[in-house]
């Protein structure tokens, strides 16, 4: 039983014969899922559930951390001091989201250091959207409006995810994300009502981020092998295509207010299915970016690696200092 090797599994649950514990644990787990209640870190859980969650939560954390980069790219050049302050606060929020999510993932039995090492080694994935470049200031608007907007669609249902620490982290993340989306919308609105160059900049950004944002929901349902199990476990509540369709519907309304257009002439509301439909997406491109062949994959990873490596001596110093202080205190205590 793989879960027995993980430190977060308490002794009382792993005591006794593992077969009995497994059977009892599974029954308890099944009951909680059936009641749509929450699994907590000390509860027994199937190894596959733990593995799935650890993968999802750590990927989510990595996405927040890598996702800081395209926006940090514009902090120094933000065109007004107010925008600079808002952008700084937003990127800082993302670091915070990364922290909650790494903490949530740690309750599943893996250390943040290990997750960070996997990210830097290129073994872990993060959302492929962040491998696109933020070329202009308007990208700050499009990322907020489209990318954070898609993230919210994905994440609001995750507030009810069956794993407690993840669901609770998502509540706070979603509150902040909704601010982020509004500030993105506001950037685009200001640009759209600005000079012709500004409006053009806004439209160009929406054109570039639209399709990648739609692909954030993941592959089409008939090509998404893990979705079914995640839904059975109450981690995922709606299918990729369902969420994507909802998102398109929201964007259709909002883009009118912006005075811009979506780069998709096939968007329509299907009266029969009562769902929004969109034009074809380039899933080959999605797979390419996922496989590491996107515009910024190497740059993003290298930047994270450099920050990590450059900071190694600082982390070592902090650890050494803490150890010395603790030894000193113990000595004083003993004396």
């Amino acid at each position: 039983m793989a879960a027995q090797n993980l430190q977060s599994v308490p002794a009382e649950r792993t005591a006794g014969t593992s077969e009995t514990a497994d059977a009892e644990g599974q029954a308890h787990f099944d009951r909680i899922i059936a009641e749509d209640s929450r699994i907590e870190p000390r509860d027994w859980m199937p190894a596959a559930y733990r593995k799935t969650l650890l993968r999802q939560v750590s990927q989510h954390a990595h996405s927040e951390i890598i996702g800081m980069q395209p926006e940090a790219n514009w902090i120094s050049r933000a065109p007004s001091l107010k925008r600079k302050a808002i952008l700084m606060a937003k990127v800082q929020d993302e670091a915070g989201h990364g922290l909650y999510l790494y903490s949530a993932a740690e309750t599943l039995g893996q250390s943040r250091d290990k997750m960070m090492d996997d990210l830097i080694a290129g073994k872990a994935r993060y959302s492929s959207i962040f491998n696109y470049p933020a070329r202009t200031w308007a990208d700050m608007g499009a990322i907020g409006w489209l990318v954070d907007g898609a993230a919210i669609c994905n994440q609001v249902p995750l507030c009810r995810a069956s794993y407690g620490p993840y669901g609770r982290a998502m509540v706070r993340v979603c509150k902040e994300e909704s601010f982020h989306q509004r500030q993105g919308f506001e950037i685009l609105l200001e640009l759209s009502n600005g000079t012709p160059e500004q409006k053009q900049m806004a439209q160009d950004a929406v054109n570039r981020w639209y399709a990648p944002a739609l692909m954030m929901f993941g592959p089409p349902d008939d090509d998404s092998p893990n979705s079914k199990q995640s839904m059975a476990w109450n981690i995922k509540r709606f299918s990729n295509d369902e969420l994507r369709s909802r998102f398109v519907g929201m964007m259709v309304e909002q883009v009118r207010v912006l005075g811009l257009t979506l780069p998709d002439d096939q968007v329509r509301f299907n009266e029969d299915t009562r769902k929004w439909e969109h034009g074809p997406l380039d899933w080959h491109e999605f797979q390419e970016v996922l496989a590491g062949r996107g515009p910024c994959n190497a740059q993003r990873l290298e930047r994270r690696r450099a920050a990590h490596d450059d900071g190694a001596w600082v982390r070592e110093a902090a650890a050494a200092y803490a150890a010395k202080q603790s030894a000193k205190q113990q000595k004083e205590y003993a004396a």
Partner: protein, 305 residues
Amino acid sequence: MSTPEATETGHGDISTGVAGGDSNASATRITPGNALRPEDIALEVKTGLVKPSEDVAEYALRLGDDALILAQRLGHWISRAPELEEDIALGNIALDQLGHARSFLTYAGAGMPKEDGTATSEDELAYFRREHEFRSVQLFEQPNGDFAATIARQFVVSYYQYQLYRRLTESTDATLAAIATKAVKEVDYHRDHSSQWVLRLAGGTEESRTRMIHGLRLMWPYVNELFQDDDLTRRLAEAGAGVVPSSLREDFDRLTADVLTEAELEVPDVPAAPGGGRYGKHSEHLGYLLAEMQVLAREHPGASW
């Protein structure tokens, strides 16, 4: 302006000089729980509620430029810090500084009307002045270097700004006092952050200690400039609106020495640079910083964002 008692000890004690709190600090609508925002000042400027004297405007410009340049430097660490917690901490400090800068610059601009008589905005001051028009002292524009150099700069800045803002809470200029009342609380945290890192880096590993010593040596030549008086600060001190920088030196020296002693470090024995930032004479570093900061705004003059 009265001199606060010299009994103030290490960080954590901000009661001295802040007595009365927000409610008395400004003659305007700033109350506890309703912290002063740059937008509040802009509104007061626009409606004619506040207008700084020429001297106060120049003074606010100096302090605003210091904070702005530091915010720009610190913002660079976001997504590059040694640990996620430091991305957040340095980002927070940058945000605080940017907030102070916006308040000071908005107020300064009210005393620097344009040809049509309206106030110069914070953005016009930040984005459309040239290098020699910036009034920040040279310490603030010094490059981030490694984390130890940034901490060394933060250490000096936070202890200096704490003393300065603490005194300015008693300024006869209600807006300066209100800005300082908000800022001193935030800068107290910056002081806590920087002093803790000085202790950790000095007492951590051999490498971190070497780097900390080097960082302090890099920044210390620019300490002197912080405490140089001139006619403007003398006039403002006389009027009770400002502080002569030299009067902050004793507390600065004493309080930084406490930390350095605990860290078993010496005050760096390095010659002082002549300074001149207050008169637009900057080190070679500022031009690059401004070029990056201003580029987009200048591509679209007159645009709003």
